[in-house]
C-alpha cells in the first residue's frame, strides 16, 4: 500500500476532506445525523476496458429524506465530487425515480428509507492488472424531515484491477442493493412525447405501447424552473396519456427538451418510466 504512488493522493484527499470539514462548520460532523452514507461497489475488483457500477448507499432514519436532481420547492440535490485514478471516469448519478413529499403544501422530490444513487465508472483498457485503484468521493447532501441538516462525507474505496483470467466478482454484501437500484431506475420507453405550453400550463401528450393507467400515476420533471411542483393532472384521452402541469412561476428560457419521469405504485413495488420531451411553445402532434 505504501509503495503504491496513489497512497499519497489518498492521504491528500483525506486531509483535504478534514480541512473542508473544519472550514464548513455548518455541516454535520459525520453522517450520523439522520442518514448514513456509504460508497459501495457492485464488484470486488475493476476490469480493464469495462464499465462498472459504484453507488452511494443512503440509509435514512424514518421520516427523513434526501433529494432528487430536482429537489422541488426546497432542498438541494446530493452532489458527488470524484477523485479517480488516471483514465477512470465516473458518469453522472443515474437518478433513481423520486418520491413526492408533501411538506405543508410545498412539494419535495427525493428518497427515504434505503436508496442507492448509482454511478457508472469506466475503467481504461490499459489499467494494469494487479494494481490498486484508489477511488475517493466527496459527497454533499441535505437531509430533511421538516428541519434540514446539511451533511458532507469523503469516502474511499481501494479496488484491485483484476487480471483477464480472474474477472471481478459481485460483492456479496451489496448484491441486493444493486438489484434494487436497477429496479428503482425509471425505464426508458419508446413513447412519443409532445408538449404544448399553453398560457400558464405545460401539457405533455404521450403516445405509444404499454402506457400505464392514470390511476395512482405521478409525474416529475428533472429540470428546474419549468413546471410547478404540485402534482400534475394526469388522464387518458383516446390512445394518449395527458400530463398537465402548471407552469413554474420562475419559468424563464425554455430548454430544447426536458426529462419526464412517471411513477406508479403497484403490488410489486413502484414502477417508473422516463421519456424525453421536446419543448415546443405550440402543440405539434
Amino acid at each position: 500500500m505504501t509503495r503504491n504512488p496513489r497512497a499519497r493522493s489518498f492521504a491528500f484527499a483525506t486531509i483535504a476532506g478534514l480541512i473542508g470539514a473544519i472550514a464548513a462548520p455548518l455541516y454535520a460532523a459525520d453522517d450520523g445525523d439522520h442518514v448514513s452514507v456509504e460508497l459501495i461497489s457492485e464488484h470486488t475488483a475493476l476490469a480493464p476496458g469495462q464499465s462498472q457500477q459504484l453507488g452511494i448507499l443512503l440509509r435514512h432514519e424514518p421520516h427523513w429524506h434526501t433529494y432528487w436532481i430536482n429537489p422541488g420547492d426546497s432542498g438541494l440535490p446530493t452532489t458527488l465530487a470524484w477523485t479517480l485514478p488516471p483514465g477512470v471516469k465516473a458518469q453522472e448519478i443515474a437518478w433513481p425515480m423520486p418520491k413526492r413529499f408533501d411538506v405543508g403544501g410545498l412539494y419535495n422530490f427525493g428518497y427515504d428509507g434505503e436508496a442507492v444513487l448509482p454511478v457508472a465508472v469506466s475503467v481504461p483498457a490499459d489499467a494494469a492488472p494487479g494494481s490498486k485503484a484508489h477511488i475517493a468521493v466527496d459527497a454533499k447532501w441535505l437531509v430533511c424531515r421538516e428541519e434540514c441538516i446539511p451533511g458532507r462525507k469523503t469516502m474511499t474505496l481501494d479496488l484491485p484491477v483484476a487480471p483477464p483470467t480472474d474477472p471481478p466478482k459481485p460483492d456479496g454484501r451489496w448484491t441486493m442493493q444493486f438489484s434494487r437500484a436497477r429496479l428503482a431506475e425509471p425505464q426508458a420507453t419508446a413513447w412519443k412525447a409532445t408538449n404544448a405550453a399553453d398560457g400558464d400550463r405545460i401539457v405533455v401528450t404521450l403516445r405509444g405501447p404499454s402506457l400505464p393507467a392514470a390511476d395512482g400515476l405521478d409525474a416529475f420533471v428533472a429540470e428546474r424552473k419549468l413546471v410547478d411542483n404540485k402534482p400534475p393532472r394526469i388522464k387518458h384521452e383516446g390512445d394518449a396519456l395527458i400530463v398537465d402541469f402548471a407552469k413554474s412561476e420562475y419559468f424563464g428560457t425554455p430548454p430544447e427538451s426536458f426529462d419526464l419521469v412517471l411513477t406508479q405504485p403497484s403490488a410489486a413495488g413502484v414502477r417508473g418510466w422516463r421519456v424525453q420531451v421536446p419543448f415546443a411553445a405550440k402543440a405539434a402532434p
Binding site: 455548518l26 420547492d73 426546497s74 421538516e146 434540514c148 441538516i149 428546474r224
Partner: protein, 201 residues
C-alpha cells in the same frame, strides 16, 4: 348557463387549491401584520419607498449560511443607508421549527446583528401565502409605487456553503442598484432555494 356553472365547478374541483402567486411587474399584495415589537406593519404604509421582503427561519441552514457569513446583515445595512425598507418575515407556525414570538425574535436579531427595518411575526402564514413564499430565504423587492420588481433567491448558487457567496450573483443587491438607477431589473425572477417555509396545516 347551468352547464357553464357545472364546468366551472368541475374545473374548481379538479384544480389543486392554490393561492395566486404575485407577479413581477404587478402590484405586490398588501398586508397587515404585527412585528417583533408589537407594532402593526403594512406594505401600503411604505408607499414611496423601495421595500425588500426576506423570509426567515433562524434554524434553517440556508439562512445560517447567509447570516453566518454576514451577507444578509450587510445587505440589510446597505439597503437602510439608501432609504430602502427591509422587512424580514417569519411564517413558521406555532410548534414548527423556527417559530418565534416577539421576545424570541428580538433575541435572535440581537444575536445575529440583524439590520432590518422590522421583523414580522407571520405565524398564521397569511403574508407568506399571499406572496407564495416557499423557502427560507425567499426574497422580494417592491418599488416605491408598490410594484413587485424581483422575486426569488437571495443569490445564484443554491448551496449551504458560505464559500459560494462571493462567487454568486447577489440578486437583491443587483435589483436594488438597478431600481436606484432607474433601470429595468435585469434578473427579475430566480428560483428560490432553501428550507421549506414551515407553514401550519
Amino acid at each position: 348557463m347551468t352547464l357553464r356553472i357545472t364546468l366551472i365547478a368541475a374545473a374548481l374541483a379538479f384544480a389543486v387549491p392554490a393561492v395566486a402567486a404575485p407577479v413581477v411587474g404587478k402590484a405586490a399584495p398588501d398586508f397587515s401584520v404585527t412585528d417583533a415589537n408589537g407594532k402593526t406593519q403594512s406594505l401600503s404604509a411604505y408607499k414611496g419607498k423601495t421595500v425588500v421582503l426576506e423570509w426567515n427561519n433562524p434554524e434553517c441552514p440556508f439562512v445560517g449560511k447567509h447570516y453566518g457569513a454576514k451577507n444578509m446583515q450587510e445587505q440589510q445595512a446597505a439597503a437602510a443607508s439608501q432609504g430602502v425598507v427591509w422587512l424580514t418575515v417569519n411564517s413558521a407556525a406555532t410548534g414548527k421549527q423556527g417559530h418565534l414570538d416577539g421576545a424570541g425574535a428580538n433575541a435572535y436579531l440581537a444575536k445575529v446583528g440583524g439590520k432590518e427595518t422590522a421583523y414580522l411575526l407571520d405565524g398564521d402564514g397569511k403574508v407568506g401565502h399571499a406572496y407564495d413564499a416557499k423557502t427560507t430565504p425567499h426574497m422580494y423587492v417592491i418599488d416605491k409605487d408598490g410594484v413587485l420588481r424581483y422575486m426569488g433567491g437571495i443569490d445564484s448558487i443554491a448551496s449551504t456553503d458560505k464559500e459560494d457567496i462571493p462567487k454568486a450573483t447577489q440578486y437583491v443587491r443587483q435589483a436594488l442598484a438597478e431600481i436606484k438607477d432607474g433601470k429595468a431589473v435585469s434578473v427579475p425572477t430566480s428560483e428560490p432555494y432553501g428550507c421549506s417555509v414551515k407553514y401550519g396545516s
